[in-house]
């Protein structure tokens, strides 16, 4: 059981890192061209992935219970803040690790920022009660 969990996390982590690198998500120029619609390849990649996920999860949801994600104000506000950060740094929480693996040393700044932002939100959440109810 434990070995299976370890193996699954190792295999899927490697697969995701390897794939994101070859898709080009670690490259700021590619991400910037995606956001400015100068190149539609990444847009199609992501859209295609969502469509395939929809097919997969339609089957999977019969076997496992998955957490529901109702629309909340924090989903929108948090999403907006995240998008600004992604446009500035070229990274999302997964991509920054791929960038570091690719030898982009300055991604260490982004990673530090993400950990700081995650911690900051925890403080803000305790003080002001913001954030979504269901989380993953």
């Amino acid at each position: 059981m434990t070995a299976r969990v370890l193996l699954a996390n190792a295999v899927f982590g490697l697969l995701l890192g390897f794939s994101l690198s070859h898709i080009g998500f670690g490259d700021f120029g590619e991400v910037h061209r995606m956001f400015t619609f100068a190149d539609l390849r990444l847009v199609l990649t992501f859209g295609g992935a969502v469509a395939l996920c929809a097919a997969g999860f339609a089957v999977l949801s019969r076997r496992w219970w998955f957490i529901p994600r109702p629309a909340q104000t924090a989903s929108a506000v948090g999403g907006l803040v995240f998008g600004l950060g992604w446009a500035l740094s070229g990274a999302c929480p997964g991509i920054v690790l791929v960038q570091l693996g690719e030898g982009r040393m300055l991604a260490g700044l982004t990673l530090g920022g993400i950990f700081a932002g995650t911690w900051l939100f925890g403080v803000a959440q305790r003080r002001f009660g913001i954030g979504t109810v269901e989380r993953c």
């Binding site: 982590g13 995701l16 390849r41 469509a51 929480p93 920022g113």
Partner: protein, 210 residues
């Protein structure tokens, strides 16, 4: 197998397939949704999680939980002197009634392995493509856009990414793939928002700075 796969950029369909296999495969094997920003949050709040974990362990099996509730309900009815229990309480709770199973949470160290292997995946891709080199300069496109402020943009952008993903309760993987793939309203909303604000700011940056 075409070796081009190991060298250049992938066509959109191969990238889409790889991302979907990762998100759906992860959920199929572990029964838990893939969500990278959640892994960060768990690492940052590791101590609190370990304490809560001990209490949750008892109620992971929904049939066990349902049966415990049924017995409690029957006991309470007896205390209140209600003679005939409703029909639905007569038989023990079955798995079919309880619904699909809730898989145990992936342990913290498992998530740490995932993050480290993502890093390894990036390194492996670069190494197999013919050269893992260390770059201490910002990405050329990033440098062109931000100039001397590039490191600041990375750091401040990172803070926004960390804060925003946790406020929204997910990022590109948790909302974008695992949530949109299940057509969850909150995930569709969050994904539209982060993609929308990314587009808006990038368009402005491209106009103003380039």
């Amino acid at each position: 197998m075409n070796l081009e796969v190991l060298n250049g950029r992938w066509p959109f369909w191969l990238g889409a397939l790889a991302l979907a296999v990762t998100a759906v495969g992860y959920a199929a094997v572990l029964g838990r949704l893939l969500g990278v920003s959640g892994m960060y949050e768990r690492l940052v709040h590791a101590r609190a999680e370990l304490a809560v974990d001990r209490e949750e362990r008892a109620f992971r099996d929904r049939a066990t939980l349902g049966e415990a509730l049924r017995r409690e309900t029957l006991a309470e009815m007896e205390r209140q002197g209600i003679q005939v229990p409703p029909e639905e309480l007569a038989a023990p709770v079955t798995t079919a009634q309880a619904g699909p199973a809730i898989a145990p949470r992936v342990p913290l160290w498992g998530q740490l392995v995932f993050l480290v292997m993502m890093f390894a995946g990036g390194a492996l891709a670069k190494a197999l493509a013919g050269g893992l080199t260390f770059q201490s300069q910002p990405d050329p496109a990033h440098l062109q856009l931000f100039g001397k402020a590039a490191p600041l943009a990375l750091l401040f952008g990172g803070v926004l990414v960390g804060f925003g993903t946790r406020m929204a309760g997910g990022c590109t993987s948790g909302h974008g793939l695992s949530g949109c793939g299940r057509l969850q309203p909150g995930s569709l909303l969050a994904t539209a928002c982060f993609f929308g604000s990314g587009v808006a700011l990038s368009m402005v940056l491209a106009r103003v700075l380039a």
